[in-house]
């Protein structure tokens, strides 16, 4: 039994969350004290960027001395650090990509940045949580902030509706997750993942009740990562939420949710993998099919990207199903590449959509290449990565995932997954064709040049996509080492 009093090592390992919370609170306090009423607060934006950068530095610094913190409640390891840095990076990218949008809607204020930082703090807790209750609290900090972000445009009907649906279905999922946690606590007498793992490996736990509680937790997690059959909320939420928020929601919270999903099901429930793998198999396949085939029929680009995000959750589910170190590493790599791509793609959407998000049809992207070549170019890079064309991050992501699936002997799932990605190519290519070959639409002709911050966001996301596509080995090596979860 460790001492009750935390040591300095505990605080260093918790430093990213502390930084995010302090800066977030500061942003919240400065919000009523600043501003000229024009809906533009660059000083708060830079404070948020500084806070996120500092948090990222703290997360990397904490990895210099990995280990458990606060009596094993948190565990700073390669896996946790990977996801902490990933979600903080997603947040940084979101801030750059959101600024044009927020200024245009006269909504740039401290609350947006404060909520973003709080949400990321919750996701960092999720990434390093080693205890079911801490995991739950992290998830809720992240989710509650996200609910408000989804409804950030108070005067917008779609944004309201998105927030309501996200809130109701998100809380519903939380209820399931928590009930599962309660049963695990009752069956094993602990909420610590390592203790649960040891208790379950030793046997003697009622298998039916154990399966029930694992199923309850699966429902909760599947909702959060939008895996079928619990994906229904995603299209409405991503379509209605402000575009930069959709970008963030489909990258940060999703990556963090997969982090806890992987950690819980490979450590605590690792010994019963043969029992949950078939369920995951079906869920992965269904998620891919539902996402890709529904995306084919969409004319609204945000809704299309939402279905595409469901499909990509399906690919990651394939990696989770393989239940191996290779699979976990592949999932990590995939989530990283997908996060940058998706934030970038939604950033271009938010740019073309213009004030009030009027232009979100696929036809509105017609002729984008002729008028705004940079926007069209980065969008092409993002979409080729989503298809999985070589030299982009998406190619290696898919490659590693299906390799892990084959290693685990899941030939059918691999074949069906590859067929799915072939179907997916159609709806991405359609947008690229429209951008390059059609006459410029009214929406595109009216576009004003993007600000330097937004352009930086695009280029950074595109550069990360290409860098991971051309030199994947560095990140993959780190992921492979970090994927050994205990």
């Amino acid at each position: 039994m460790n001492s009750l009093f935390p040591t300095s090592a505990d605080f260093i390992r918790f430093a990213p969350e502390i930084v995010l919370t302090v800066v977030g609170t500061l942003l919240m306090l400065l919000e009523p004290l600043t501003g000229d009423g024009k809906g533009e607060k660059p000083q708060l934006r830079w404070l948020a960027i500084a806070g996120l950068a500092l948090a990222m530095a703290a997360a990397i610094f904490a990895y210099g001395d990995p280990g458990p913190a606060f009596n094993g409640m948190l565990l700073v390891d390669g896996f946790g650090t990977f996801f902490s840095v990933l979600v903080i990076g997603t947040g940084l990218l979101t801030v750059f990509c959101a600024q044009d949008y927020l200024i245009r809607e006269k909504q740039e204020n401290g609350e947006f940045y404060a909520l973003l930082l709080f949400s990321i703090a919750g996701q960092c807790i999720m990434a390093t949580a080693n205890e079911l209750i801490i995991l739950f609290i992290g998830l809720e900090i992240s989710s509650i902030s996200s609910y408000i972000l989804a409804g950030f445009l108070r005067e917008d009907r779609r944004s309201n509706e998105s927030a309501l649906k996200y809130f109701l279905l998100g809380s519903f999922a939380t209820g399931f997750l928590l009930y599962g946690v309660a049963w695990i606590y009752g069956l094993t007498g602990s909420t610590n993942l390592a203790t649960i793992q040891a208790t379950l490996a030793a046997g003697g736990v009622n298998p039916r009740l154990l399966a029930l509680s694992a199923a309850l937790m699966f429902v909760g997690f599947a909702f959060k990562v939008s895996a079928a059959p619990f994906q229904v909320w995603a299209p409405d939420v991503y379509q209605g939420a402000p575009s930069p928020v959709s970008a963030f929601l489909s990258a940060g919270p999703k990556a963090a949710a997969f982090a806890i999903f992987l950690r819980v099901f490979t450590t605590a429930f690792g010994s019963m993998a043969d029992r949950w793998a078939p369920v995951f198999w079906g869920s992965a396949l269904l998620t891919m099919i539902v996402g890709n085939f529904a995306a084919l029929r969409q004319d609204n680009i945000k809704r299309m990207l939402a279905y595409s995000s469901i499909a990509h959750a399906g690919y990651v589910m394939v990696a989770v199903t393989s239940h191996s170190t290779v699979g976990t590493a592949a999932a990590m790599f995939y989530l990283a590449s997908y996060a940058f791509v998706n934030v970038g793609a939604f950033a271009v959407v938010s740019y073309v959509a213009a004030k009030g998000e009027k232009h979100v049809g696929i036809g509105d992207f017609a002729g984008l290449a002729a008028r705004q070549p940079l926007a069209a170019l980065v969008m092409t890079i993002f979409f080729t990565s989503l298809i999985g064309v070589p030299l982009t991050a998406g190619f290696f992501g898919k490659f590693y995932i299906f390799k892990a699936a084959l290693d685990a002997g899941m030939v059918w799932l691999t074949v069906l997954g590859l067929l799915n990605s072939a179907v997916a190519a159609y709806y991405y290519l359609r947008v690229i064709v429209v951008m390059y070959t059609h006459e410029p639409s009214v929406a595109v002709n009216e576009l004003e040049p993007a600000s330097s911050g937004l352009q930086f966001g695009w280029v950074a996301a595109a550069a990360a996509t290409l860098a991971l596509g051309i030199f994947p080995s560095a990140l993959l090596e780190f992921a492979s080492r970090a994927a050994i979860l205990r």
Partner: protein, 105 residues
């Protein structure tokens, strides 16, 4: 106070399961947003009951502490949720969940 023949813990767990199921059923059946929201709260409170029952059974205090966290999270969720419901109401003048369906393709 420990009575020799107190109500067995399984009764509490069964009650909790019933409450949780009522919450789930209500969430799926009910059409009024506030009622749906109350069903979610019912689910969370059912979980709290389970935590306390398990805590008693295991003779461990931490289960009771978890209920504090669940309560606080539920309160935060309630505040945010009611605020969201209010903004939805301001736009639609209705609390029927079927009226909130402008996002379709």
């Amino acid at each position: 106070m420990m009575l020799p023949n107190a109500v067995p813990v399984s009764w509490y767990l069964i009650l909790s399961a019933i409450l949780f199921s009522m919450g789930v059923a209500g969430f799926l059946i009910r059409r009024n947003i506030i009622t749906v929201f109350m069903c979610i709260e019912l689910m969370l409170n059912a979980v709290n009951l389970s935590f306390v029952a398990f805590s008693y059974e295991l003779k461990k205090i931490d289960g009771q502490l978890f209920t504090f966290f669940v309560m606080v999270v539920a309160a935060a969720e309630a505040a945010v949720g009611l605020a969201i419901i209010l903004t939805v109401f301001r736009h639609r003048m209705s609390l029927e969940i079927d009226d909130v369906s402008s996002l379709k393709n």
